[in-house]
């Protein structure tokens, strides 16, 4: 079923339940995101894509990457309320990962410099869940997941042990917007998540995964790299 909604004053017809962000894109309106990827199910974790959605004269802030289009919805993607809140979200992200170049660039672009929150220290992971979803939905092995909750939440392999299902494809490394997954045996900079994949690690195979018997399909790797390049900051 098609529905009609208004985004920033422009009218658009889309299939019902299309995420607002997709509808906005069709109008050429871009909304900042960190945890969104067209090839993956939306997750709504970074909160950067918030917009103001109106029903009658009541409005609420919603995440546009997973908010479904409904008949008669009016959306503002850059109202004062949106910009203010988005700035605060960015401040929180910057407070969490002050050393991540991509986050710093994005913050600068949004005019966020001073951070009014206490620094959390050497974090690189923003818990966007892209790696978890990519490993599940693109690669289909679910080698990693979130663990714990609240401030202890992190991404890891079950029990933090070497995974016996990870195929070392590197998809998680490519899709991670903060570059915090290192495919290496050496511990990286502080706060990095190290995936020690032994001989399976991308780049560490002396034969570039070209052997007849190699489980890693080169075409698949290339496809992944291309598909994922678009979300890297």
């Amino acid at each position: 079923m098609m529905v009609t909604l208004t985004i920033d004053g422009q009218i658009i017809h889309v299939e019902r339940h299309t995420p607002i962000i997709e509808a906005a894109k069709q109008l050429g309106i871009s909304i900042p995101t960190l945890c969104h990827h067209e090839g993956l199910q939306p997750f709504g974790s970074c909160r950067l894509c918030i917009v103001e959605a109106f029903r009658g004269n009541r409005s609420k802030l919603v995440t546009s990457c997973n908010y479904p289009a409904e008949e008669g919805l009016t959306v503002l993607t850059a109202s004062d309320r949106v910009l203010e809140t988005r700035k605060m979200v960015m401040e929180l992200l910057l407070a969490r990962c002050p050393d991540v170049p991509g986050i710093r660039r994005l913050a600068e672009k949004m005019g966020v410099e001073a951070v009014g929150f206490k620094k959390k220290g050497d974090q690189w992971c923003i818990l966007c869940g892209l790696c978890v979803r990519a490993c599940e939905q693109m690669v289909g092995v679910s080698a990693i997941s979130f663990a714990s909750r609240g401030i202890e939440r992190e991404v890891k392999t079950p029990f933090g042990m070497e995974s016996d299902v990870c195929i070392g494809c590197g998809t998680c490394t490519y899709i991670c917007p903060t570059g915090c997954i290192e495919m290496t045996g050496d511990p990286g900079p502080p706060g990095h998540r190290v995936m020690d994949m032994g001989d399976l690690a991308l780049g560490s195979c002396s034969n570039n995964h070209d052997c007849e018997t190699c489980d890693i399909d080169q075409g698949f790797l290339d496809k992944m790299k291309r598909a994922i390049e678009s979300v890297r900051l």
Binding site: E136, V141, S142, A143, I144, S145, F146, A147, S148, R149, T157, P158, F159, V165
Partner: protein, 161 residues
Amino acid sequence: MGFEKVDEILENYAYKHDALIGILQDVQRLENYLPQETLQYIGRELEVPLSRVYYIATFYKSFSLEPRGRHIVKVCLGTACHLNGAVQNLEQVERVLSIREGETTEDRMFSLETVNCVGTCALAPVTMVGEDYYGAVTPGRVEKILSAYSTGSGSAEDGKD
């Protein structure tokens, strides 16, 4: 431990994926915690990725991946309990058992936890031992309540609500 009991539980839930939480709850009741091998076994049997089982098992506070005592003492620190002196009760439990919050006694009889509400605010301050509720607890009653559990597996009928 063999996995016969776990098999039984899995059968009770007809190996349904969406019953994972219920399965883990029942399995935890067996040993009061979720041993790693058991979680691995459940993942294999249900054909659910281990990462998913691990995610669920670490998400909910009621699951423990560490061995815990036979009796879990939960001191409620919710608003109503807090206002009625729950902190003093907690300190008294810590003294009596010689463990801190989150720890287990050496004899593996008791583990101590705090919770933020057990839904019985009218009985504040509330302390739970296993599945038993104790209301209007005072530091003076703590030792008596706990001693009934340390001697046998029974509960202190006295003052149980």
